[in-house]
């Protein structure tokens, strides 16, 4: 008998009315959701908004979960879609209202990273990651930081493994070159 995914049990319990199961699921994945969103958007406030959005989607759509794929790929899919949509929305908003500087100012004040050295590190990372196109950034993050296999990334993004490998290579090359330039 195949071993059942432990997340399935939590989902079933939640669907049967046990609210604490949702809390367990949220606690399990909230950091992954946050860091993925943070690296995608490059700031804390946007990431925080995405986290809240993803949890809300999870809460409302968990009844549609089909127990065919693993829950974490499903959560990643939601996170990625929400992140990309959010970035597009923000771009449009900035284009319309020209408030890019204002937004960036807010994000540094409310950041969860308090150490100045850590702030600098994150700033450097963000400056490199933000150069990548969104789709490529997404694959790079899933592979490099979330350490997912190509099969898992293919499940999440719906792209072929070959295409993902090529994308990751180009992204990696770009990032390394950028870092070299910045350091040099």
């Amino acid at each position: 008998m195949p071993e059942e995914n432990p997340d399935y049990d939590l989902v079933r319990r939640f669907l049967n009315g046990d609210e604490s199961s949702f809390n367990q699921l949220a606690r399990k994945y909230q950091a992954k959701i946050y860091w993925h969103a943070r690296r995608m958007t490059g700031n804390h406030l946007d990431a925080d908004e995405i986290v809240q959005e993803v949890l809300l989607v999870l809460f409302e759509k968990l009844k549609n979960f089909n127990f065919q794929s693993s829950l974490f790929t499903w959560i990643y899919r939601i996170t990625i879609t929400r992140s990309i949509n959010y970035i597009k929305r923000q771009k449009l908003r900035r284009f319309v209202s020209f408030d890019e500087e204002e937004n960036r100012g807010l994000s540094t004040d409310d950041d969860i990273v308090k150490n100045i050295e850590d702030k600098e590190k994150l700033k450097k990372l963000d400056s490199v990651l933000q150069i990548l196109p969104e789709k490529q950034r997404e694959i790079f993050l899933l592979r490099h930081f979330d350490e997912l296999s190509y099969e898992e990334i293919a499940q999440i993004t719906g792209k072929s493994v070959g295409g993902l490998k090529a994308n990751y290579f180009h992204a990696f090359e770009k990032v390394v070159n950028l870092m070299g330039n910045k350091n040099g």
Binding site: Q30, Y34, L55, L56, K114, N115, K124, L125, F172, G180
Partner: protein, 212 residues
């Protein structure tokens, strides 16, 4: 130029090969895999690649305020409650606006129907007033005509009328009035039978009698 391009392609190809080796054993592999038995230059390239990857990862390992993660769920619950409350209010507003518009529609249609009904009744009454007398008159005349026709055409009634008329006539012929009329017919004889005094008296009375 051509040679330089070829060299660049070779470098990229080599990089891709080294990258594939790095990527195949990613993550967790500490040592360079045994199957990689390339030149020292490639080994160095792989080491550089690993270092770059590590630096990139180290940029992401930062100390954070853990309170943020403990507060995510309570904030989520708060947001959810707000959303549900606003959804409830929206629903309430929506349903009450629907109910109000339905009520308004009902009132208007009732009012319209009432007005329509009243005008119809008034119109009907007016029509009745104008139509009914004519109709009743027509009916009356028609029935009277029918009745008279039935009488005229009825042979029994005809016979009865004839009989009554004959009887009346015969009765009249036997009555004194008729005799009086007969007598007037012998009036000259009566006058001839009177003497002179009597005639004068009659004449004097006649003179005294005012006619018209």
């Amino acid at each position: 130029m051509h040679l330089k391009k070829l060299l660049t392609l070779w470098v990229i190809k080599m990089d891709k090969k080294i990258f594939d080796i790095y990527d195949e054993h990613f993550p967790g592999e500490e040592n360079v895999p045994d199957k990689f038995a390339g030149p020292v230059e490639d080994q160095e390239k792989l080491d550089d690649l690993r270092k770059s990857a590590d630096v990139l990862k180290s940029l992401s390992s930062v100390s954070i305020d853990e309170k943020y993660f403990t507060n995510i769920l309570p904030r989520f619950r708060e947001n959810l409650e707000k959303k549900q409350r606003s959804f409830f209010y929206k629903k309430l507003i929506y349903s009450s606006s629907i109910a109000f518009s339905t009520l308004l529609l009902l009132v208007f249609s009732f009012q319209f129907m009432k007005t329509n009904f009243q005008s119809k009744v008034t119109q009907q009454n007016e029509t009745m007033e104008t139509v009914l007398p004519t109709a009743s008159q027509d009916i009356y005349i028609a029935s009277a005509d029918q009745f008279s026709d039935s009488i005229v055409n009825n042979s029994a009634v005809k016979q009865e009328i004839d009989k009554t008329l004959n009887q009346s006539l015969s009765a009249a012929s036997n009555s004194n009035d008729y005799i009086l009329i007969k007598n007037t017919m012998d009036y000259n004889n009566v006058l001839s039978q009177l003497d002179d005094d009597e005639l004068e008296k009659v004449y004097a009375q006649l003179q005294q009698t005012k006619i018209l």
